[in-house]
């Protein structure tokens, strides 16, 4: 699935488009024609021009139409996001206008080629060509507004962050100015603007981080105000769509100090009004700005008010301070944990997935064919061993214990030579030179050296015994 649309080709303005295509025709088709030529040649000359121009326009339009994503094929999240940002109907109408212009131009080209076949003179043919190109130009000029709009959409679309709707996601939402962006800055490397006024963030921002060797994306959303969704503006709707469509862990941010300009009561109310969107999602309420005020320092009534959010099943409250970088990582880890467990649960719930695996597994239980007892074989040695218990002071010493004693993982080096099986125990830790006298020892190493030596010695002994015979043999040779 496509997540970014960075490589859509530029959409020229209608005037530029005309210049591009007509110039191309001028460059790439022959330019010299004389009235004395045969009429077939004159007709062919102008037919070629008309056809070439028509094809040029059609090709350009086709590129535009194919470059832009079909809004109906996208993930619902991207579809709704594009709907709020670019107005779905406007988008569709613009692309449809381009597509219609393409068919119209093809039709004009066809019609005039047909008329040119009956051209009687150079002048008439030229006039027909002129009329054909003129009509094509009129069609293109009418596309001025769709082109301008599509170019703007293209530029904006290319700069959208790449949000994967299916991956592990933390979604940060809440009222404006409660510290959503600063939290994102704390947990990821994303360079998001943080300013002390409301609606600094006007679009979705994405940052990435790793937890437990898994890649997570954190999404910062613009602030939401507590009002019905049909009254919300485009900026707020982006957050709403992100909450609604992304499988994520939602971090609802609250600011108890009320520096953001919204009372605790309002913030709790917003939570309850967007609660329906949290179905099937893990939710974490994060109390931000604890450097100013903590939940414990509040009046009892306010505390009770905040506690009402706990009525929603699965919601937990955590406190943090992005300013002091206090408890930020704990919040992040907690959220990630919640998300991971929720995802695993969801995976198990999905019956199709479980069945897929169960289909492949077959556990067979053999029928008993006789009375013989075929119990598993456990050596006596093992049976005699005491059961390993961590708390037992007399427990067996494991390699792990050795490691812990010698400085733990990373410091302690396992001595692999300890397990060598050699004739003499003392040889175990001997140093074996690799290079000796400038020669590689391994080049001269022979595993059967002992056997060979023994064979050689035996032969020598035998020869020594046979030495007498040899002397006689030598004498005989000398005699020849």
């Amino acid at each position: 699935m496509q997540l970014t649309w960075k490589d859509i080709g530029t959409v020229p303005s209608s005037n530029d488009m005309l210049d591009i295509v007509l110039n191309r025709t001028q460059r790439k088709t022959p330019t010299v024609i004389r009235p004395g030529f045969k009429i077939q040649r004159i007709r062919a000359f102008y037919m070629r021009k008309v056809k070439f121009t028509g094809e040029g326009f059609a090709e350009k339009f086709d590129d535009i139409i194919r470059g832009f994503p079909n809004i109906n094929d996208l993930h619902p999240f991207h579809r709704d996001l594009m709907d709020t940002l670019y107005e779905k109907n406007h988008y569709k109408v613009s692309l449809a206008a381009v597509s219609r212009a393409k068919t119209l131009i093809e039709q004009v080209s066809r019609d005039y080629v047909r008329l040119l076949k009956f051209g009687q003179s150079l002048f008439q043919c030229k006039q027909l060509k002129r009329a054909a190109l003129g009509r094509m130009a009129t069609i293109v000029k009418k596309l001025k507004d769709p082109f301008a709009y599509l170019e703007q959409v293209r530029q904006h679309l290319g700069r959208l962050p790449s949000i994967d709707p299916n991956t592990r996601t933390l979604l940060i939402c809440g009222y404006p100015n409660v510290g959503k962006s600063s939290f994102l800055r704390c947990i990821t490397k994303a360079d998001v603007e943080v300013q002390p006024y409301a609606f600094t963030t006007k679009a979705l921002y994405v940052g990435h981080f790793d937890y437990k060797y898994l890649r997570f994306q954190a999404i910062d959303t613009p602030g939401i105000l507590d009002r019905p969704t049909d009254e919300m503006n485009n900026i707020e709707m982006q957050s709403i769509y992100a909450i609604a469509h992304l499988r994520s862990c939602v971090l609802y941010f609250m600011d108890l100090s009320e520096q953001c300009g919204f009372s605790i009561e309002q913030q709790v109310k917003l939570f309850h009004s967007i609660k329906p969107l949290f179905a099937n999602k893990s939710v974490l309420v994060v109390i931000n700005k604890t450097d100013i005020i903590k939940i414990e320092d509040l009046e009892q009534s306010s505390q009770d008010l905040i506690k009402t959010v706990m009525n929603v099943p699965g919601v937990e409250i955590m406190q943090t301070s992005c300013y002091h970088d206090d408890n930020v990582m704990q919040v992040r880890n907690k959220a990630c944990e919640k998300l991971l467990t929720a995802r695993i649960e969801q995976k198990l719930k999905g019956t199709a997935r479980v069945n897929n695996i169960l289909n492949k597994i077959h556990v067979s239980t053999p029928q008993a064919r006789d009375e013989l007892d075929r119990s598993p074989f456990i050596p006596e040695e093992i049976k005699a061993l005491k059961k390993y218990d961590v708390n037992d002071p007399d427990k067996r010493r494991l390699a792990k214990d050795v490691e812990a004693e010698n400085g733990g993982a990373g410091v302690y080096n396992v001595n692999l030579k300890d397990q060598y099986l050699l004739d003499d125990e003392e040889w175990k830790n001997d140093v074996m030179p690799e290079i000796l006298d400038g020669k590689n020892v391994y080049d001269f190493l022979d595993p059967e050296i002992a056997a060979k030596l023994a064979a050689l010695e035996e032969e020598e002994e035998r020869l020594e015994q046979e030495g007498l015979k040899q002397q006689i043999f030598d004498a005989k040779i000398k005699g020849f």
Binding site: Q26, R114, Q120, Q127, L128
Partner: protein, 261 residues
């Protein structure tokens, strides 16, 4: 990864290059030089295009300057004649035109009206020779016979027209050159509508062409104006109306006509 308005954000954070304004000013100041260089050095097709564009720009600018100057000098174009005082009732009725002038103008008017009945927007047309109108189609096994003709102009054929057997057909009206509709302009309403042609009333070239339905410049055709919703004095909806062709259809590929009212 840069996202959303990262360019604006960067400018906001770090500002622009120190010489940004200076460079911009200089570039703008030298723009005239660049235009003049282009105008002098561009050759061929590009040069032509450039000159045309420049010319249009200059004309537009001169017109604007002229309009501006005129508005400055003249002030209100028509000085008021009366100084705001109300005229007494006995003076209101006074005729300023003298009667002799009125009579002469009314006679002129009447003459014009008489002539108007028979006048059409295009009173004169170019003569078209038979050679231009007909192309000889050679037939026979060795292409020696030349009694067949093909009309090279656009034609209108009626709805229920069927061709004669090919062997007999003396005059061919190619189906590629047949027209069914015309862009008709209503001269008073100044609207142009695509209307179906009903018949060819008269081709000024020759009555034979009228019969064959040849559409040339100046031909009077009957068009179906029911879409326009014109109403007669009696209150009936007008169905067919005459119109005169104002272009050469074989050069434009379409028929343009002006309604005769």
């Amino acid at each position: 990864m840069p996202q959303n308005d990262y360019i604006e954000r960067h400018i906001k954070q770090h500002g622009r290059r120190l010489d940004y304004e200076e460079r911009k000013r200089k570039r703008e100041a030298r723009e005239g030089h660049k235009i003049s260089k282009d105008a002098q050095t561009l050759k061929g097709w590009r040069g032509k295009q450039y000159a045309k564009k420049r010319y249009a720009e200059k004309v537009a600018m001169k017109k604007k300057i002229k309009a501006h100057e005129e508005s400055k000098i003249k002030g209100p174009s028509k000085p008021k004649e009366d100084d705001g005082e109300a005229l007494p009732t006995y003076l209101l009725d006074r005729q300023q035109q003298n009667t002799a002038k009125a009579i002469s103008s009314s006679i002129k008017q009447k003459r014009m009206e008489k002539a108007d009945k028979f006048s059409v927007p295009l009173p004169k047309v170019r003569g078209i020779s038979e050679e231009e109108m007909f192309k000889v189609v050679r037939t026979g096994k060795s292409k020696t016979k030349s009694w067949k003709r093909m009309i090279t102009k656009h034609t209108f054929v009626g709805e229920c027209f069927t061709r004669r057997p090919v062997k007999m057909e003396r005059i061919i009206r190619p189906s590629a050159l047949r027209q069914k509709k015309a862009n008709v302009t209503h001269p008073e309403l100044a609207v142009t509508v695509l209307l179906p042609i009903l018949s060819v009333k008269k081709n000024p070239q020759s009555p034979m062409y009228t019969q064959m339905g040849v559409l040339t410049k100046g031909t009077i055709i009957e068009v179906n104006v029911s879409e326009l919703g014109l109403v007669t004095a009696g209150g009936k909806v007008v169905w067919g109306k005459y119109a005169q062709i104002t272009n050469e259809p074989d050069r434009d590929g379409v028929v343009n006509a002006v309604l005769l009212v």
